[in-house]
């Protein structure tokens, strides 16, 4: 737990330092004479994150301020879901351009259901039918807009 907290604090501090030294000067012009710089708020936020990141890392090192509630590290199933679900959405977006909203929506719902462990054929038919039906009713009939 403490190692995780220390790691998180250091990552935050490094991110803030990189922003202050490199990204903000490279990505935000210094502004016009007589005006407050557009860099002002981004720099304030990053100085804050730098200080708080070091504080989080420091309290973890010295064992103080690490709260009673301890967030767990990622379980394997969570890591799989973190990769598979966003990937599924990206594939559905790609299919949308090739085959239209019906195929993309079906792929998204059936893919997610299969990923969640659904194997009942009836459910695998009814789920996309219901979801796409509601989506069609809401978008095309009620709101009068489209997808795709």
């Amino acid at each position: 737990m403490r190692a995780t907290q220390m790691f998180v604090g250091l990552i935050l501090a490094l991110f803030a330092a990189a922003m202050l030294l490199w990204l903000i000067p490279a990505q935000i012009p210094s502004g016009f004479a007589g005006q407050l710089s557009p860099r002002l708020l981004p720099q304030i936020t990053m100085w804050g994150v730098l200080g708080l990141g070091l504080w989080i890392a420091g309290t973890a090192v010295w064992g103080r301020g690490v709260p009673a509630h301890r967030p767990g590290v990622f379980a394997r199933a969570e890591l799989v879901a973190l990769v598979v679900l966003p990937a599924l959405v990206l594939v559905a977006l790609w299919v949308l351009t090739l085959a239209g909203p019906l195929a993309a929506g079906t792929l998204l719902v059936v893919g997610a259901a299969l990923m969640m462990g659904e194997r009942n054929p009836l459910a695998l038919v009814l789920l996309p039918a219901g979801a796409l039906g509601v989506g069609w009713l809401l978008l095309y009939r009620v709101l009068g807009t489209t997808v795709g």
Partner: protein, 501 residues
């Protein structure tokens, strides 16, 4: 009062009442869907009102806003997925109640608190819109900046694992809000040359990603345990588990009164929004409780406090809109577009130039509050059945609706991409103990905060000593220091206790 009396005859006809009820019903339904909040609902409904007269259109849109503000509690209670950030504190006690088999009780508490908070704030709008204008004019950017700093600090202490992590989340939210063209100079910031970022990162896809999709990913990773919980939720069979008892009302009533007052106060102040209101109300109810240990484990007054404030903010945020033409919230900002579309310019002149329309809007808002109660009571049973649906069926459907919401609000595939990026960030935030809600609040108030900060620096002549001439700002800065001290001390105690035991 004469305005509102003149307005009732204009709305007491079948057509107008039907549009109000339809607005509330659609809003309640959309609000109940995770990640689809009132801003989304109103924004996507505006095109529907092109052909309607001004009063019908505005009454319909305000009905949607009110309905979705109340409906967002449904998913917070039943699925632990807040319909929008302002319902996050509702989930803190609503979801534990649902897991204890008291989903019906929690939903009714949320509904009654929503209706009472909304009705109270609507009456406040009617009573205060004109008089408040003179007081609101006295608030300078220095005070606004101080209030925003206090709000961020207070919410950071309440919503995150530690104050430091809550503040980091808020600061990152402020940083992300700076992406796009800068307000004063028009220079691009952190856009990496991508023109789609010039308008900034769209709020709704980001919020859907961080709240709803991140929750779906986490639920997908814990589906076996969650299906067990859902089975437990469905087991509540005692009649008292699905209704508000006298004892529940005794606990909830003070929280509703205070929550409504807090919601009105927060709604009037531009930039704070419903999330600040619901968290402040929840924190206040907890601090006033005889047994604060019940909070987070299923305290009915926690649900009541959060929902009353959340729903009071919507009408209250129209006070600065109606009185000064300044939007007090995201929803008010979206409604400005609808007003202008129908040839109505919100502001002080509206009272003089279109008094009958103002009266009609007031009457429609009160009718919408009553419609909210009716629809909630009639359809809550149907919504409560969601808890019996296994996670393997909920996740695909919610993911599908999230993609649709992000697509519409983010302008196509770009919105979905933004949603995905922030869903990954949301998962990391949750797993590492950072506050997603505080990040989003930081993002939403980012522009207002930056503007007030810049104006404050200029007003104070770059000399902090000039703060002496702004006593209200000094009070809020002192309250910020006290909040930091209290939350830091609280965290140390919480750390020490397990070590001692």
């Amino acid at each position: 009062m004469t305005q509102i009396l003149a307005g009732f005859p204009d709305i007491l006809n079948l057509l107008t009442l039907a549009w109000i009820v339809a607005g509330v019903a659609i809003g309640y339904l959309v609000g109940a869907l995770p990640g689809l909040g009132k801003a989304t609902a109103v924004a996507i409904a505006i095109p529907l009102t092109f052909a309607l007269p001004a009063l019908l259109a505005i009454a319909f849109l305000i009905g949607i806003a009110k309905g979705s503000a109340a409906g967002s509690a449904v998913s917070a209670i039943l699925l632990n997925v807040p319909g929008e950030p302002s319902s996050a504190p509702t989930a803190l006690d609503g979801y534990p109640l649902a897991r204890q088999g008291k989903a019906g009780k929690a939903l009714k508490a949320a509904l009654f608190a929503s209706v009472l908070g909304d009705l109270g704030a609507t009456l406040a709008l009617v009573a205060l819109a004109q008089p408040i204008a003179s007081y609101a004019l006295a608030i300078t950017p220095v005070e606004i900046c101080a209030v925003l700093i206090f709000s961020l600090t207070f919410v950071a202490g309440l919503s995150a694992e530690s104050l430091a992590k809550g503040l980091v989340a808020a600061l990152l939210g402020l940083l992300v809000a700076t992406v796009g063209l800068e307000i004063e100079s028009g220079l691009p910031r952190l856009t990496f040359g991508d023109y789609r970022l010039f308008d900034g990162i769209p709020l709704i896809p980001m919020a859907i990603g961080m709240l709803a999709v991140a929750e779906m990913i986490l639920q997908a990773g814990n589906r076996a345990a969650l299906d067990q919980q859902a089975a437990t939720v469905a087991k509540g069979v005692h009649p008292d588990d699905s209704r508000m008892t006298r004892d529940d009302w005794r606990r909830a009533a003070p929280a509703i009164v205070r929550g409504t007052a807090i919601g009105i106060g927060v709604g009037i102040l531009p930039g704070l929004g419903a999330s600040v209101g619901s968290f402040l109300s929840y924190g206040f109810a907890r601090s006033r409780a005889k047994d604060p240990g019940r909070f987070g484990k299923g305290a009915i007054e926690g649900v009541a406090a959060s929902e009353s404030a959340d729903n009071a903010v919507v009408p209250a945020s129209l006070i600065p809109l109606f009185a000064l033409g300044i939007p007090g919230s995201v929803i008010a900002a979206i409604l400005i577009g609808a007003f202008m579309l129908h040839g109505v310019a919100p502001g002080p002149l509206m009272f003089a130039q279109q008094p009958r329309l103002v009266g009609g809007i007031y009457a429609a808002m009160i009718a919408a509050s009553l419609a909210l109660l009716l629809i909630g009571l009639l359809f809550q049973g149907a919504f409560a059945r969601v808890v019996r649906v296994p996670t393997r069926h909920v996740v695909p459907v919610v993911l599908f609706l999230c993609v649709i919401g992000a697509w519409i609000e983010g302008g196509g595939a770009y919105g979905v991409q933004v949603m995905l990026v922030f869903s990954v960030l949301g998962v990391l935030f949750v797993k590492l103990g950072f506050s997603v809600v505080n990040f989003l609040i930081g993002f939403v108030i980012g522009r207002a905060f930056e503007l007030s900060l810049r104006q404050s620096i200029q007003i104070l002549g770059r000399d902090p000593a000039n703060l002496v001439s702004h006593p209200i700002a000094l009070i809020f800065l002192a309250m910020t220091a006290i909040a930091v001290w209290r939350f830091t001390r609280g965290a140390r105690r919480a750390t020490r206790q397990p070590e001692e035991t």
